[in-house]
Amino acid sequence: MKLRYPLILLAAMAGLPHPAAVAQAFKPARPVELVVHTGPGGGSDVLARALAIMAEREKLLPVRMVVVNKPGGNSAVAAAYLAEKRGDPNTIGLFTGVWLQTPLVSTEAKVTLRDLTPIARLVLEPAVIAVKADAPYKTLADFIDAAKKRPGALKQSGSSSTSRDNVVRQLLQKSTGARWVFISFPGGGERIAALIGGHVDIMVIEPEEAGEHIRAGNMRVLAQVSEHRLPAFPDVPTLREAGFDVPVVPQVRGMVAPPGIPAANVAYWEDFCRRLTRTASWKKYIADNQFEDGFQGAADLAKFYDEFTIRMRDILKDAGVKTVR
């Protein structure tokens, strides 16, 4: 009889499912590499470094977390790097929506998020639709009407053609029949400069970025790309409230691991993310950046990938972007 208990533990270690026991079975023994797809200073890099500090401050990890930059190929290089680390217990990565979009449009980007191990979704980034403060459009409908009157004459500044900025435009164009031009600017600063310099008419912008320009009277917000109103913009209608029934495209960030790691490791990292999102530091970080807590565990995340990919493929096809997968 005395032998029974250890046997169960052994069975659990061998990979048989018993969640509570499994979560205890793995612990990183040496510094963990946190892989990001941007260079130092990019969005994911800054989040990763903040995350590493929080993990240390809140004592969430027994080891240190080191940020590893694998920029290049619009996330394809970082994804390929993680795929090569098959089975490595000390490597994890931070993904964004770009990791889902790049393999859709680029033959070279062979590793999709489906080829890696999902851990958890962490952040949802809402957005707002803004115009210059002295623009004649008071509501999104005003802008849409103006765009209908002069097809192709109004302009939107944004990121790449596969970015959320353009997806929102495509969805609005499709549902209203209006048409305006999308102009890609690689740097976030250039996009804003183009709007408040009066060179373009509208942009989709992160609320945190827009905040100060609104307060200084340079910018006005017409609508928010969010399911419900953000605390900072209580008087601005969401897209649906403004009368545009288009799906809200989330900008996501989350954690992935290399393929082929044991279930115990997945459970450990999922639990790490859950504990992280409950800390005060994390809540403050989310509030400061006006993100939304988008926590979702590994099982739901895999489902999210598929929905997102299917929807994205359709939108890109509508936009005339060639998809390869």
């Binding site: 903040a50 290049g72 680029s106 790449s160 890609s184 740097g187 310099g197």
Partner: protein, 501 residues
């Protein structure tokens, strides 16, 4: 708060012992990062970001800014001594700086780089202090057509004045523009010239090509000289190593040019220090009386770009601090840092946080003095590198180049590229093709393509947008005028001959 009280208040902040220490730490780290090729200010600042959480915001921004402008001082060192550009903004310094070193004047080149950096860096801070808000408004009137015109101007300045054969310079520039198209098309996300290589999706890094063509090409070409190359002459004594009065006099215009061009280009959100350094070099050459000697070790050819890349930092802080708009990689991470410390950079940042703004401005005056004091005594020390026999020096250059490239990207593929571009540099030297237009074409190519395509999207395909906007039209006309300078010379010579006969 007016400028005098603001500045006095700023010095009170910056001269606090702790902040003075952080300023020194920043400029010292900046110098080190600048001297080492590869690791640049954005990477350094990103890595130090976690440390700043326990610092006061004033101390932290003073230190991070110190790294930013300090790196511009050190960047010229390896350009001049080894022909290995330390930062992309110091690529153009290789052209005349390395030739000066080969002619036994490494000290003068290093010294003038430090002095020009100090003069222009200080002018940049004065500009930041005096004209930041109005200038930021003016910078906003620049958009894609203006950027296209500005870059055309830069290309015209350097390409058509480079080398003996205009045809070869043009071919090299076109090759540079072509290399810039490798990677993912920014508008359609189609991959171009990637040959199925994952590593090529994000394009070829400018610094890899610059180090390959300049440094490796030089080493390969020199290895051909089988006979024992004599050691380079390095004069002894501090006095003989530093620039002479005549040097300083020769650089009078270069100081002004570097300061003004660097600052103005810096204020543009789509500018950047690489463009600033090339523009001021081209301008220097265009107005110089000894234009034909550029590329053989002319001291103004070092002073102008080194000045420009320093005053650019003052300029780049203008849109960041007055509008919350970052124009470059480094200012983008400074912006991220400010947000992480709980500030909201934007149009109201300066009036609401005078401590931080004026403290930073004052610290930059102090930091520039520190950098001059730090860098001038290093000149004789660094100059000794050239006393090394070639069998030590060349492996050293190879090592520094490879470590530089690998530390920037961490990719073995880039080391392969480095080798390939080294061979290209060697071939170009043998066939007498100038390297500068290739590098400039590459540096400007992606930006020019983007600006042109953005302009055409704005105008629904009509090229008239480039000439119907006054600033763009003026710059394009200036570019045309520069292109015709050699024609004027020819016309004049022909006229004189006709008069004589």
């Amino acid at each position: 708060m007016d400028i005098v009280t603001g500045l006095l208040h700023g010095f009170a902040v910056a001269l606090a012992p702790a902040n003075l220490l952080w300023c020194f730490v920043g400029v010292f780290l900046g110098t080190v990062v600048g001297v080492l090729p590869g690791l640049g200010p954005p990477a350094t600042i990103a890595m130090l970001l976690p440390l700043t959480f326990s610092m006061s915001p004033a101390g932290a921004i003073i230190m991070l800014a110190g790294i930013y402008y300090g790196a511009k001082y050190g960047g010229s060192t390896t350009s001049i001594l080894l022909n290995v550009p330390g930062e992309s903004a110091s690529v153009v310094t290789c052209i005349d700086g390395y030739q000066m070193a080969r002619k036994g004047r490494p000290g003068a080149a290093l010294g003038i780089a430090a002095i020009a950096s100090f003069v222009a860096g200080t002018v940049g801070v004065v500009g930041l202090m005096l004209v930041a808000p109005p200038l930021a408004r003016f910078a906003l009137s620049f958009s894609s057509p203006e950027y296209f015109a500005l870059m055309s101007l830069g290309l015209a300045l350097v390409v058509l004045l480079a080398g003996r054969s205009m045809l070869k310079a043009l071919v090299a520039a076109l090759a540079g523009l072509w290399i810039a198209t490798v990677g993912t098309d920014p508008f359609s996300t189609t991959s171009r010239f990637t040959f199925g290589q994952l590593e090529l999706l994000s394009g070829i890094d400018f610094i890899v090509v610059a180090i390959g063509v300049f440094a490796l090409g030089e080493v390969l070409a020199n290895m051909e000289a089988r006979e024992d190359a004599p050691l380079l002459e390095v004069p002894r004594g501090l006095r003989n190593l530093l620039p002479t009065w005549q040097d300083l006099k020769d650089c009078r215009f270069a100081f002004i040019n570097g300061s003004v061009v660097g600052f103005l280009v810096g204020t543009l959100p789509g500018g950047g220090s690489t463009i600033a350094s090339f523009l001021s070099y081209g301008l220097e050459k265009a107005v110089s009386r000894r234009r034909d000697q550029f590329g053989t070790g002319v001291i103004e050819g070092v002073a102008a770009p080194e000045g420009a890349n320093n005053s650019e930092t003052g300029g780049a802080l203008v849109p960041l601090l007055t509008l919350g708009i970052p124009g470059s990689g480094t200012t983008a991470i400074l912006l991220a840092a400010l947000v992480l410390w709980g500030f909201k950079p934007g149009p109201l940042f300066i009036p609401e946080h005078p401590d931080l703004f004026w403290g930073l401005v004052a610290s930059m005056y102090i930091g520039n003095v520190m950098l001059l004091v730090l860098n001038l005594p290093l000149v004789p020390l660094f100059a000794q590198v050239l006393r090394l026999p070639v069998y030590v020096l060349y492996p050293l250059i190879l090592g520094v180049s490879m470590v530089g490239v690998y530390s920037a990207s961490g990719s073995l593929f880039d080391l392969g590229l480095l080798l390939a571009f080294g061979l290209l540099g060697y071939a170009m030297r043998k066939l007498d093709y100038p390297a500068a237009p290739l590098i400039l074409g590459l540096a400007l190519g992606a930006g020019m393509e983007r600006a042109l395509r953005q302009s055409l999207m704005m105008s629904q395909g009509s090229l008239s947008i480039l000439v119907s906007r006054p600033i763009s039209a003026a710059m394009l006309s200036l570019a045309l005028l520069i292109l015709s300078i050699p024609l004027f010379g020819k016309f004049n010579a022909w006229r004189l001959r006709a008069l004589e006969s």
